[in-house]
């Protein structure tokens, strides 16, 4: 295939703006898949993605399309639509020359539209704005055109108006792709350099690596190496997704496809890595990063017997998702479990959901925390993944937390509410601008911990669902942070410790104690629930001792009934965790997560 007849492009959009539907429609329109084959959202092949209606893992697919007298190969590179996967998005965009910036005709430009749009600009992609869902009664096409113009400087003439659902405007869109997206450059005769932009694991064939050939040619039987991973393999098969795996003899500069070597774990495939021929001295492609886990939490089997099963289940997940990591840890309260690292909060939810779907283990999850940095007075630098690792207050010279730049897009009337939310969370305003006469974009720097704690939920309620947000990590800043411990009758419950801002500690401590008081059954003695920073108690609640609990009648017929009741209570107690002599129900461990109304 002549390079001039190839177009590589992505669709980028805010969540729910119809990206997957549009991709499906392109496949259908070009005859790549028949209507009968077309399951809704062809490209989202994970069950979970279908459940959530969002794309998590990128997929790519090659379609042939005849325009005029020429047959073009269009390579659609699907990108994940969430901030947790920003790095994956940026690698996928590196493999494209163009992007369809998809905007919902009613929702208009939203936070992720802006983030993804700017990302595409950064990669010097040709951008084709597409307004979707124009068939809807409440579509406000003209206003959205204006928003796009205001935000990205793209004029009306360039905007494609479609309905992916109804198949309106698809032909014009394909023409625009062919005309406006430049063909890839790169010399098929040069030394091989290919970008790894995704991978997935096939039970029978092992790792399947997605590549874009930047320079040179790769063929079946080549001996190749991954530059960053430093591993060497034989190419067993190469091909393209149409969308089924379709083997071919070679992939040339400019083409997108897959490589199968005999690789047993995705651990060895690094997104952003460079693939070249073995013993090649070629310069690796720029932009590679190790995955950055920003959110950590503990996962414990609620029944200690299930530890092995949980470990196996996590291992299986890791094969498919190298960006997730886990290591064994022990908690006095929860026993044996794992500390798990995720790219972000959504990533954490996805992994948990998959765990639940793919294994039977009943889980206890501890409160998620971000990765902190500490400089100790002796000069030691530490990265803190869990509260227990925080050194004694006296040993800390500087305690730093990750800061994110958050873009909010909201109808004008909610600007005040968003500012209030950000100010309460120690946000620093960066900018504020109108993107259309009625909608505004606000930009704040905020601690990531605040964002994962409750910002998204609070934003949705403060803006009645109209506000959207997106964020990127901009670095670490020092703050007055403390580790808050929870004590039950004087015993520290390690799994309940959290790191928070000193100014918030009392409010949060009180909220946690209150919640715990509700969750802990009354015992035969008084139970003190306290929050503490170091040795200083900052909040306390008391679970009163039981004073009277004695069944009166217990004769012949009552024996079975009472026994069943007490046996049920006994089973309940077995599932609780015992700290000292206090039985703490598993629900209580989620109490620290409770945002409740107690905060502010």
């Amino acid at each position: 295939m002549d390079c001039r007849n190839i177009r590589n492009f992505s669709i980028i959009a805010h969540i729910d703006h119809g990206k997957s539907t549009l991709a499906d429609r392109l496949l259908e329109f070009t005859g790549t898949v028949s209507e009968r084959e077309l399951k809704e959202q062809m490209l989202d092949d994970m069950q979970l993605e279908r459940d959530r209606g969002i794309t998590i893992k990128a997929r790519s697919v090659s379609v042939e399309y005849k325009h005029g007298n020429t047959t073009y190969q269009l390579n659609l590179i699907d990108t994940p639509g969430h901030v947790d996967f920003q790095y994956e998005v940026s690698r996928a965009l590196t493999c494209c020359e163009g992007a369809l910036l998809l905007v919902d005709a009613f929702q208009g430009v939203e936070a992720q539209t802006v983030a993804n749009g700017y990302n595409a600009f950064d990669h010097d992609l040709a951008i084709i704005p597409v307004i979707n869902k124009i068939d809807l009664d409440y579509a406000r096409v003209d206003e959205v055109v204006e928003e796009i113009e205001q935000q990205f400087g793209l004029g009306d003439a360039e905007v494609q108006k479609v309905s992916a659902k109804e198949g309106i405007g698809i032909e014009g869109l394909l023409e625009a792709v062919i005309e406006h997206v430049p063909p890839p450059t790169g010399d098929p005769a040069a030394e091989l350099r290919a970008m790894v932009f995704d991978s997935h694991y096939d039970e029978f064939r092992g790792a399947i690596t997605y590549i874009r050939v930047m320079e040179g040619t790769i063929g079946k039987g080549d001996k190749i190496q991954f530059v960053r991973a430093g591993s060497v393999h034989d190419v067993i098969e190469i091909g393209q997704f149409t969308p089924q795996q379709t083997p071919c003899d070679a992939l040339h500069a400019g083409q997108v496809g897959y490589v199968i070597c005999n690789i047993k774990s995705l651990d060895m495939i690094h997104i952003g890595d460079t693939l070249c021929l073995n013993k090649s001295e070629v310069e690796p492609l720029p932009g590679y990063q190790e995955p950055k886990r920003m959110v950590y939490c503990g996962l414990y089997p609620s029944d200690g017997q299930d530890f092995k099963e949980l470990r196996d289940a996590l291992g299986r997940l890791k094969i498919n998702d190298p960006s997730f990591e886990f290591e064994a840890e022990t908690s006095e309260a929860l026993g044996f479990g794992f500390r798990c690292g995720f790219l972000g909060l959504l990533h954490m939810e996805i992994v948990q959901q998959r765990l639940e779907q793919e294994s039977d283990v009943d889980l206890i999850q501890t409160a998620p925390n971000v990765t902190y940095e500490v400089t100790k007075k002796d000069g030691t630098e530490m990265r803190i993944h869990r509260p227990q690792e925080v050194p004694e207050p006296g040993d800390i010279l500087e305690f730093r937390q990750p800061i994110v730049r958050v873009n909010f897009i909201t109808p004008g009337e909610y600007v005040g509410a968003i500012m209030k939310l950000c100010n309460e969370r120690r946000g620093v305003q960066q900018s504020q601008e109108y993107i259309s006469p009625t909608r505004m974009m606000l930009c704040y720097d905020l601690p990531l911990a605040e964002v994962i704690y409750d910002l998204h939920d609070k934003l949705k309620s403060a803006t009645r669902g109209y506000g959207t947000m997106d964020y990127e990590i901009i670095g670490y800043q020092a703050a007055d942070l403390v580790r808050m411990d929870i004590l039950v009758n004087g015993n520290r419950v390690d799994a309940l410790s959290v790191i928070c801002h000193r100014a918030d500690s009392q409010v949060r401590g009180r909220a946690v104690c209150k919640k715990l008081k509700q969750e802990i059954d009354r015992h035969m003695f008084e139970v003190a629930v306290q929050a503490a920073i170091g040795a200083k108690i900052i909040a306390r609640e008391t679970v009163r001792a039981l004073r009277k609990n004695v069944t009166a009648k217990c004769y012949g017929g009552d024996i079975s009934r009472k026994k069943k009741l007490w046996a049920k209570q006994r089973e309940g107690k077995k599932r609780m965790k015992s700290i000292g002599s206090v039985d703490i129900p598993q629900k209580a461990f989620m109490a620290v997560l409770d945002k409740g109304q107690d905060k502010k």
């Binding site: 069944t551 009166a552 217990c554 012949g556 024996i559 007490w566 006994r570």
Partner: protein
């Protein structure tokens, strides 16, 4: 643990004049028309025993056995006399509604050897009786004690913790009862159970449960007053003058076997705990159709049974003699629940006293919270 032949029998008579607001027992109110078919069914159920069984204790409970008309009651007594003949010195109890006690009924009791009457008196306080929806007058209770002079043992039930009740009211109630020196007293804190009209009122907020602290005081008050008056607190809810402890109920708490007939009746024979259908009409139609009236049946054996014996025997305030326990179950208390017991001893909820394991007063007050750990 070998299972001896039952030496106790329970007969359930489900009829009541009306259902009291707090009652969730197997009773049926205002259906005197069912008496005949009930007696017919009871006879058929008894016939499944094959042959008469000699008993040390028989307990006729309800409902209200005395709701049966005299000739019906006589037929019931005849059935029992045939199928459950008593040993000499046996204990033969009937539960009675104070309104049903008269010379005729007492004569009937005597004729058939009933030597223990359990009166559903509940209170001497008119306000309490009204709230509890009991239809007798305090003065009727006084008459009952006079009429029952010839019965060797008379027990009365007293309820405490009725909404709005004060400690002074409760003390007065206890004093009123002590005037008659009954041989036995059962006293219960009012519990508001699902399926009662009190429950719906409670859910609506029309009925307030007595504060836990006050309930505790009521219970302690009963313990103190009755002990001072020479009563032995021998089980969570039961007090007796020495020698008048209810032998029938002790069989339940010692894990001994017992027969039971009638709707909702629970038996324990050959290791099986069985409960008959609770609905009187279902019970009758099943038995008359030649079917088994049993609704639930479970085999209780091994450790489960040993733990059950441990828990129910510990509800007796004299506690457990470890030798007795070993003889009964073939295992030691130590091997069964040693760690847990040590923990409770350290927490002051159980104690070793004269070589027996007993509840302490504090343990007694919260004993229901102990059992889940021991079962």
């Amino acid at each position: 643990m070998t299972m001896p032949v039952p030496r106790s029998a329970y007969i359930h008579v489900p009829f009541c004049r009306h259902r009291c607001g707090y009652c969730n027992f197997t009773v049926i109110a205002g259906r005197d028309d069912l008496h005949a078919s009930y007696l017919q069914a009871l006879q058929m159920e008894l016939e499944t025993l094959g042959a008469p069984q000699e008993m040390e204790t028989v307990f006729l409970g309800g409902g209200t056995p005395t709701q049966l008309h005299p000739d019906e009651l006589r037929r019931l007594f005849d059935l029992i006399a045939y199928w459950f003949p008593m040993v000499t010195e046996g204990e033969y109890t009937i539960e009675a509604n104070p309104e049903d006690i008269d010379e005729e009924s007492v004569a009937l009791f005597q004729e058939y050897g009933v030597n223990r009457v359990s009166l559903g008196g509940q209170s001497f306080d008119m306000d309490k009786l009204t709230l509890l929806e009991r239809s007798h007058q305090p003065s009727q209770l006084e008459q009952c004690f006079t009429l029952l002079k010839s019965i060797p043992s008379v027990s009365m039930d007293l309820i405490f913790g009725v909404p709005g009740e004060t400690l002074a009211q409760w003390s007065a109630d206890l004093d009123s009862l002590l005037i008659f020196r009954p041989t036995h007293i059962s006293t219960y804190g009012l519990t508001i159970e699902k399926g009662t009209s009190f429950w719906s009122r409670f859910e609506r907020g029309d009925l307030l449960e007595v504060d836990e602290e006050l309930q505790r005081q009521f219970y302690i008050e009963a313990r103190q007053r009755l002990s001072a008056a020479g009563y032995h607190h021998y089980e969570v809810s039961n007090f007796a003058r020495p020698g008048f402890e209810c032998r029938h109920n002790q069989a339940y708490w010692f894990g001994d076997p017992y027969f039971a007939v009638g709707p909702g009746a629970a038996s324990f024979v050959n290791g099986y705990r069985e409960v008959n259908h609770r609905s009187t009409t279902t019970y009758i139609s099943k038995v008359l159709a030649g079917e088994s009236p049993v609704a639930e049946s479970e085999l209780v054996s091994g450790e489960e049974l040993h733990r059950e014996v441990l828990v129910f025997a510990l509800r007796r305030l004299d506690g457990i003699n470890p030798d007795w326990f070993f003889q009964k179950t073939g295992v030691t208390i130590e091997s069964l629940a040693g760690d847990q017991i040590t923990k409770f001893v350290n927490q002051g909820l159980l104690r070793w006293h004269d070589g027996r394991l007993c509840l302490t007063e504090e343990g007694l007050l919260v004993s229901d919270s102990l059992w889940p750990y021991l079962l």
